[in-house]
């Protein structure tokens, strides 16, 4: 703060003889606002190119031509979610595909559909078998995803349901020589019953205890089936059911039929996933818990019941898959209850990312590839799967398909970190922010504001504060007038005002919201006896804010 300079401001109104107009007051030497501007012009800060490059193609808008939009009959969902918009920088009318997943799905499924045509001859057997296995396991993963992701039930009994359905149908098929097409529906029934039994504790138990319980159940099943004579304890499994694959076909023909049948099973599972997850039931379940409660209350939807529903539907589907399993392989091995099966299945979900169909399918693809195609690598491949899973759990928040969002969040965080380290701009917009600003005059406004503040800071002194205390809204010295004009012309947001608690008795300082409908905010508890005291209180707060900015 300045020492008493002995400089006086002489009041031009003194000659008029007003009672409140003193002749002179101590003030500070004149300081030009140009100092700040000149100092800034001498700045040698290195300036880099700014702005974000767009590196992918955007379709132009339709203009005068008709845009015929297609829907998935009979829903009102459009085939592709496309949004027309103005390019914020060029104003060009553009189309953006909001959700590109349908395209990836179609391409991916097409690739799977034609993949057998391109398998090299020597690997045909391995690859087609692996492909069939992938189809079945992908279907299982999808159903499991519904249970874990949509219903939010941490069940580890998935393979127990599949295995039980497979064993029961195999037993019935062998005993009663049932045709192959009866096995999946019977399996579905078994799955439904099994699911019904384990659904009961699902809503009562905590996630961790429920996981333990179902894991135990899985082990119980294994022990039961392995030791039970009926289920062929001596043979490592129960075989002999009729399959849908005609024995008279060539081996290639049989392999191809199995491949496409399993592929079809996966498509069915995808449909189920889409149906359950994409409709209202699934949407409610995927809401944040606090929102969900409110929504449930508002619409009368019982989301606990919805969870059980999803669980039961998925269990029936798992049983169906179990039945199909039997009619595909002609039976089933005890290994389906093995702990490593459960772990591999879990790996399939985790690697892709819980809560999305593409995660389940791609996760399954990766695991089956290592497990079945690279089976020459021996146990090392399990180490690799374990390693992948470990890395995914350690570094990715939501599996492989969460990478994009995670990368963006990371990039934005880095950006703001970089910005905050460049403090020398002091309130001005940084170039990279400025290019994204719609109203370019805001950039200058911020610059002007910053320059003004830098100058005004040099004017704050005990003389000026004393002058304000003496004369709140009369004629002021140049320095005080500059400060006051700046303070008073600020935008309404967070601008200080006085609130009359009781007229002529008590006043307090508030900050305006600047938004219609939003009341001012009380900034301090202190009560001032007069509006004048409150007015000086506002000034002191503003000075303090200025010095701190």
């Amino acid at each position: 703060m300045s020492i008493d300079s002995g400089i006086k401001w002489r009041n031009p109104l003194f000659v008029w003889g007003g009672k409140r107009d003193v002749e002179e007051l101590p003030t500070i030497p004149f300081r030009s606002h140009k100092e700040v501007w000149e100092r800034t012009r001498r700045s040698t800060t290195k300036l880099n190119p700014v702005g974000r490059l767009r590196y992918y193609y955007k379709w132009p808008g339709h203009g005068a031509t008709m845009w015929n939009r297609l829907r998935y009959w009979p829903t009102r969902r459009r085939v592709l979610r496309v949004r027309g918009e103005y390019n914020p920088k060029t104003l060009r009318a553009e189309k953006t595909i909001v959700d590109k997943r349908p395209i990836w799905w179609v391409l991916g499924l097409l690739a799977l559909a034609i993949a057998p045509l391109f398998t090299p001859g020597d690997l045909q057997n391995t690859l087609l078998t692996a492909g069939a296995t992938f189809g079945i396991y992908a279907a299982i993963s999808l159903c499991w995803m519904l249970i874990m992701g949509t219903a939010g039930v941490f069940s580890l009994a998935t393979y127990a349901v599949v295995g039980t359905a497979a064993f029961v149908t195999a037993l019935l098929a062998v005993k009663f020589a049932l045709p192959w097409w009866l096995l999946p529906p019977i399996g579905a029934l078994v799955g439904l019953v099994f699911g019904g039994i384990i659904a009961l504790p699902a809503t009562r138990l905590d996630g961790f205890y429920y996981a333990l319980l179902t894991l135990g159940l899985n082990e119980l099943c294994r022990v039961y089936f392995v030791t039970s004579k009926e289920f062929g304890s001596a043979n490592g499994g129960l075989y002999g059911a009729r399959t849908y694959i005609p024995e008279e076909w060539s081996q290639l023909g049989q392999l191809l039929l199995a491949y496409y049948a399993c592929f079809g099973l996966m498509l069915l599972a995808l449909l189920l996933y889409r149906f359950v997850n994409g409709r209202r039931l699934g949407r409610i379940l995927r809401m944040a818990p606090e929102k969900r409660e409110a929504f449930a209350e508002a619409t009368g939807v019982n989301f606990r019941q919805a969870r059980v529903w999803v669980f039961l539907v998925s269990s029936a589907a798992l049983g169906f898959i179990g039945g199909f399993y039997t009619s595909n392989f002609g039976g089933v091995a005890f290994s389906i209850f093995n702990f490593d099966t459960v772990l591999l299945g879990l790996a399939m979900l985790v690697i892709g990312g819980v809560g999305r169909a593409e995660g389940a399918v791609v996760g399954t693809l990766i695991v089956v590839f290592f497990d079945q195609v690279l089976n020459t690598w021996g146990p090392a491949r399990f180490m690799i799967i374990g390693l992948i899973m470990l890395l995914v759990v350690l570094y990715l928040r939501n599996g492989l398909f969460g990478i994009k969002a995670q990368f963006r969040a990371w990039r934005d965080k880095k950006k703001s970190e970089r910005r905050s380290t460049r403090a020398e701009k002091g309130g001005e917009l940084l170039p990279e922010e400025a290019t994204e600003t719609e109203d370019k005059s805001v950039i200058y406004q911020r610059r002007h504001d910053k320059m003004t503040r830098d100058h005004l800071k040099t004017l704050v002194s005990p003389e000026i504060i004393e002058e304000h205390r003496h004369s709140l809204n009369g004629q002021h010295s140049e320095a005080l007038e500059r400060l006051l004009i700046y303070f008073r012309t600020r935008p309404q947001v967070e601008k200080y005002a006085i609130m009359a608690v009781e007229r002529f008795e008590g006043y307090r300082i508030v900050a305006l919201s600047g938004h219609r409908g939003v009341a001012p905010r009380v900034v301090e508890d202190r009560i001032y006896a007069t509006p004048d005291e409150a007015c000086h209180g506002v000034f002191m707060r503003r000075v303090q804010d200025l010095l701190e900015s």
């Binding site: 008029w16 009672k19 031509t65 008709m66 939009r69 809204n473 012309t489 219609r516």
Partner: protein, 778 residues
């Protein structure tokens, strides 16, 4: 328990004894309230004055009232008169309109036109969806099918939009084309903006219509358990000609309408020609349907008419010159001109009531803060008896009604030279759009508020209110200091309002020898101004008590005097600026803005008018040489020294706040004398910008001699005379020191002289009127 809040209004502002008046009250947190009729005498609670004074009056309405929460429909819209449900179309349909949205990205759905039930999802509608895109939708109760345009709508650009729906094929098509010309929109053609969008899609079902859904323009029907039916999805922007057809119009047909062609009659169910029915004397609320069924649409909350249309091309500046270019009807989601509450109490006023300023005091609970309401109204005598009338500036009260300077106006703090002092009720009206705004506010969409009315609570017409921006009593509360002075001095007086002068003209003023007006007589219709002029020229004696006098031109309809129209144009002393081409008052067809724009400066009427304003401390007057003229000595009789009014409840002086000055170039009568002038106003006072063509340094108080309050006096024909104080703070100086002070003394001198029968002392009594007007004062 919820906080108790009481708000109310009366259906009339000016009544006579024996008249019936209705009170409309809404209450929060209580079902009963204590009501008492009071006569208001003084408002300002400033500790250096007499404080608040009221007189309780016996009447049959006093006592406990049953009160309830009442709801207010805000937002302007049109409702089609369709008793035969011609618009309940459940087959093919075309909806089309010219639109100029002001706030497409407001974030909620805005309905442009449709027969849509927003609560039960029945019907059809064309609107703007939350993403700012044009959208057409149909509903059959459990499901809605919709089609949105490709690109968001640009604000303040004229479009022709349409939706067609072929019920047989299920095909819905949106048509959106810009109709931007060189004048009518925000952007010109150099901006590379694509306005066009044509999208088509198959709907799964067709609309189902409920029997009682109204067809609305700029809103849609909604329902709330407590309120019942109301209108939501309100639109912000202009709509020009619009229509409904019962078939899907082909693109070429729509192109033809866009190009200005006649809409096809084949299939036309309704076509509202928004330019029909204009008269040279104004535009009403009915929008004419030129279709076969005559389904005229009625405006609610007064949609703003006389606005430029899609084909306005800059040559004409008024709807009277080219009605077809003025088809724009402007809607605001927060427009409000009538609370339309149920009447809580009807009172036949006692015949014995003396003329004065009255209020129904309604208190709930402890009656503190928001639990106390004063519903103000003015009582005139059945037949005038007094020689003095006090004219309350109800037009100015309307203009300032529920203003939100302090909370909304960024420039208010530099104007006021201080932070605002807000009270509870200011926050209440800031939080709730139901109170409506005044002509100093803008709608949330940015346009100025041009309609204001007293059929809603006016919190700043309460007697104890202090304006937050300046922490002063403002308008009515300040005017009560003049009334209290008349009471204190024992003058017999009647009360008049601007409304009486507007409706009855000079006849309302003529019975009085002397009329005093208010501290802030700013807003006047042409008829009011004419009445003043005729009164003074006819021998009336007029004391202009305030400043900022006779500045602004406003208009009323005869059958709805509670609604005032105001268009702000000309100069910088305006809270908002009417858009180019929209300067004319839809109510009368006259140009709005300031009377300066008509060569009717206030100086021509009372010798002085607006010099400028400021809210730093007020100053005293210092006598000017004319006051020492022996012929005028009676004005300053009994006043010692040169200084008058170095005190006051209005910032500590009698001259300040808003100040008026003498100006020959603006028509001050050349025989005008300046009795005293103020000076030494600080730089917080800035001159009115008509004082110089270019803004320049040196406009403000310490630099500019214009910034002064002139106390002027002149004689008018037929023994008429005018005394004008030139300062808003003058009235607030009267009550200081128990009304014993030199300002009070001076005013007494003038009033005494003005009410004394016969010629004024020192006047040229032989002069005869040249205007040939009847002498109206005895």
């Amino acid at each position: 328990m919820a906080q108790i809040k009481i708000f109310g209004y009366a259906d009339k502002i000016s009544v006579k004894p024996g008249d019936t008046i209705q009170f409309h009250v809404s209450a929060d947190g209580t079902s009963t309230a204590e009501a008492h009729l009071v006569r208001l005498i003084h408002g300002d609670e400033h500790p250096h004055g007499p404080g608040f004074i009221e007189e309780e009056i016996d009447c049959v309405a006093n006592g406990t009232w049953q009160v309830e929460k009442q709801f207010t429909q805000v937002g302007a819209f049109l409702e089609a008169t369709d008793p035969d449900r011609k618009l309940a179309l459940d087959g093919s349909i075309t909806l089309c309109a010219f639109i100029w949205p002001t706030w497409p990205d407001v974030g909620h759905r805005q309905c442009l036109l449709g027969r849509w039930d927003n609560d039960r999802n029945h019907g059809y509608g064309l609107g703007i969806n939350p993403s700012g895109r044009l959208e057409f939708w149909v509903g059959c109760g459990n499901e809605i099918d919709y089609l949105q345009a490709e690109l968001p709508l640009q604000k303040q650009a004229w479009y022709f939009v349409a939706a067609t729906f072929d019920a047989r094929s299920g095909r819905a098509t949106l048509y959106q084309e810009g109709v931007v010309n060189r004048y009518n929109s925000l952007l010109s053609k150099v901006a590379p903006v694509e306005y066009r969008s044509h999208v088509s899609e198959m709907f799964r079902f067709r609309q189902n219509n409920l029997p009682d859904t109204p067809f609305l323009v700029a809103g849609s029907r909604d329902w709330h358990a407590l309120r019942g039916h109301f209108v939501s999805q309100l639109y912000c922007g202009k709509i020009d000609r619009c229509g409904v057809f019962d078939r899907a119009l082909a693109r070429e047909e729509l192109d033809a309408i866009r190009a200005g062609g006649k809409p096809p009659s084949d299939g036309m169910v309704a076509y509202w020609d928004t330019t029909k029915g204009y008269t040279d004397r104004g535009i009403g609320d009915l929008v004419i349907d030129i279709g076969p069924n005559q389904l005229d649409a009625k405006g609610y909350n007064r949609p703003v008419r006389a606005q430029t249309g899609y084909n306005w091309n800059g040559r004409n500046d008024c709807f009277r010159l080219a009605p077809h270019e003025y088809g724009g009807i402007e809607f605001h989601a927060d427009a409000m001109i009538d609370s339309n509450w149920k009447a809580t109490k009807t009172l036949e006023l006692p015949e014995t009531l003396r003329s004065g300023a009255y209020a129904m005091r309604v208190r709930g609970g402890d009656g503190e803060g928001l639990a106390e309401e004063y519903i103000v109204f003015f009582v005139r005598p059945r037949t005038p008896t007094a020689r003095i009338a006090l004219l309350f500036s109800t037009a100015t009260y309307l203009a300032y009604a529920n203003e939100r300077f302090a909370t909304d106006g960024q420039i208010v703090q530099p104007m006021a030279g201080q932070p605002p002092t807000i009270s509870e009720v200011d926050i209440e009206i800031y939080e709730n759009p139901e109170f409506g705004a005044g002509c100093y506010d803008t709608h949330a969409d940015g346009a100025g508020v041009c309609y204001t009315s007293y059929r809603r609570p006016m919190v700043n017409m309460r007697p104890k209110y202090r304006i937050a921006a300046f922490d002063l009593p403002w308008n009515f509360p300040a005017d009560l200091s003049i009334l209290a002075w008349l009471e204190h001095k024992g003058y017999e007086y009647d009360v008049l309002t601007d409304e009486d002068v507007h409706l009855e003209g000079v006849a309302a003023m003529a019975p009085y020898a002397c009329i005093l007006n208010s501290t802030h007589p700013e807003y006047h219709s042409e008829r009011m101004l004419d009445a003043h002029e005729d009164y003074i020229a006819g021998g009336g004696r007029f004391i202009c008590m305030g400043a900022n006098s006779f500045c602004c031109n406003v208009a009323f309809r005869d059958d709805e005097p509670w609604i005032m129209e105001c268009r702000k144009t000309g100069g910088h002393w305006i809270a908002w600026a009417a858009r180019p081409g929209e300067y004319y008052l839809a109510t009368t067809g006259q140009m709005g803005g300031i009377w300066t724009g008509f060569q009717r400066w206030g100086q021509k009427l009372v010798g002085n008018t607006f010099a400028g304003e400021g809210f730093a401390h007020s100053q005293p007057y210092r006598r000017m040489p004319d006051s020492y003229d022996p012929a005028l000595a009676w004005i300053t009789e009994g006043i010692e020294g040169e200084i008058i009014g170095d005190f006051g409840l209005g910032n500590g002086g009698a001259a300040g706040i808003e100040i008026d000055c003498y100006k020959l170039g603006f028509g001050t009568p050349p025989n005008t004398k300046i009795i005293a002038s103020s000076g030494g106003h600080p730089d917080n006072y800035i001159a009115h910008d008509e004082e110089g063509a270019h803004a320049h340094q040196g406009f403000s108080g310490t630099h500019n001699y214009i910034l002064r309050a002139d106390m002027v006096y002149f004689e008018a024909p037929n023994n008429g005379a005018v005394f004008a104080t030139g300062s808003i703070a003058f009235g607030s100086a009267l009550p200081v020191n128990g009304f014993e002070n030199n300002v009070s003394q001076l005013l007494s001198n003038v009033v005494d002289a003005f009410i004394r029968p016969g010629p004024l002392s020192g006047s040229n009594t032989t002069r005869k009127s040249t205007a040939g007007l009847e002498r109206v004062a005895p």
